[in-house]
Subunit: 198 residues, 2 copies
């Protein structure tokens, strides 16, 4: 199976790449590193990526920026960091990628637990995560040729200790559990699901 | 209670205005009609509205555009109609409005059942609805001075028969039930809730 991983050198992406390495062709994509580069905030850059990579069987996105900051100072511009990157970046990977993916292929996007379980400073990211979850549910009923889509919604992960102070009381999840949610999406047969890793 | 209704002359807004008319001062706001006008896609227009209206006790938004269209032709530009209007428009009503609302005031936004219950042609709207629901949950834990926020998520309503063909099998909800969800949000005491009207 030819699997594109967007964000393949990131905290989650590298574990997902390792988990799927055996028996698959992994195309590692980053903003600056990897086999190919893409700016997911730019639809032209996404289209160029698919033209270069060619037909594929699965796309996993573990990428997307977002702004954390206090609600009483939050601005439109700050809020749109996540809207333009984590939301529209991942949406455009699917909108454009649907024209390059092989029949019975799959898209797996990344949202996050904050969609339903918010933290202080996180409202812009919560909104984006909720949008991704609903997008996956909706896109699933329209994608053609048996193409599937799911979202993975992890809470804070063990390898991101810098985030721990913002998730007080939250037990971080292991990278193994997170990576396996992506494996389940790609190698399973479900569609329109949100895989919570909590 | 001084209540601003954005979208007050729309299908839902006019029923909400009627339901809350007795004993309250209702400020009706529309894009082109009402006591005041606002372009919710423009933060400067929103700020100007609040400067004109002055301090208030509740803001209800029943406004926001979105694009319906087939997934296999959907573009970034079409998807962003809802992102810029129904999502960022309502988000900015809260981000800016929090600096004008009275203590113990409330914001009530509108999402929709499609966040969890998608229809064909609706993926862009589903995503926006999911974002609004998660935003309300997240904003609720940071709003200060006892200010509350909820979202109302209605399915197709009885007064919108042009939408019925897109919601096959869905029993439309009465305008009374929809309006009362907004009343519950404004006159109740809950925060961070999504009121599904299904």
């Amino acid at each position: 199976m030819k699997i594109i991983i967007i964000g393949a050198t990131g905290t989650i992406g590298k574990h997902v790449a390792n988990a799927l390495a055996e028996g698959n062709e992994i195309i590692k994509v980053g903003s600056k590193s990897g086999d190919f580069q893409v700016d997911i905030t730019d639809p032209a850059s996404i289209k160029s990526l698919f033209e270069k990579v060619g037909p594929f069987d699965a796309l996993i996105s573990t990428s997307g920026d977002g702004h954390f900051g206090p609600f009483n100072k939050l601005t439109d511009t700050e809020f749109r960091v996540g809207v333009n990157s984590k939301l529209m970046g991942q949406v455009n990977l699917v909108l454009i990628g649907q024209h390059y993916i092989n029949p019975k292929g799959s898209f797996t996007l990344t949202s996050g637990s904050m969609a339903d379980d918010p933290i202080v400073l996180g409202s812009a990211v919560s909104a984006v995560n909720g949008a991704i979850n609903s997008f996956a549910k909706a896109a699933a009923i329209e994608l053609e040729n048996g193409v599937r889509i799911n979202a993975v919604a992890p809470t804070v992960v063990e390898e991101s200790p810098s985030y721990f102070p913002f998730f007080k009381g939250q037990i971080p999840v292991s990278m193994h559990r997170v990576a396996q949610a992506y494996v389940k999406s790609v190698l399973g047969a479900q569609t329109g699901e949100v895989y919570w890793v909590l």
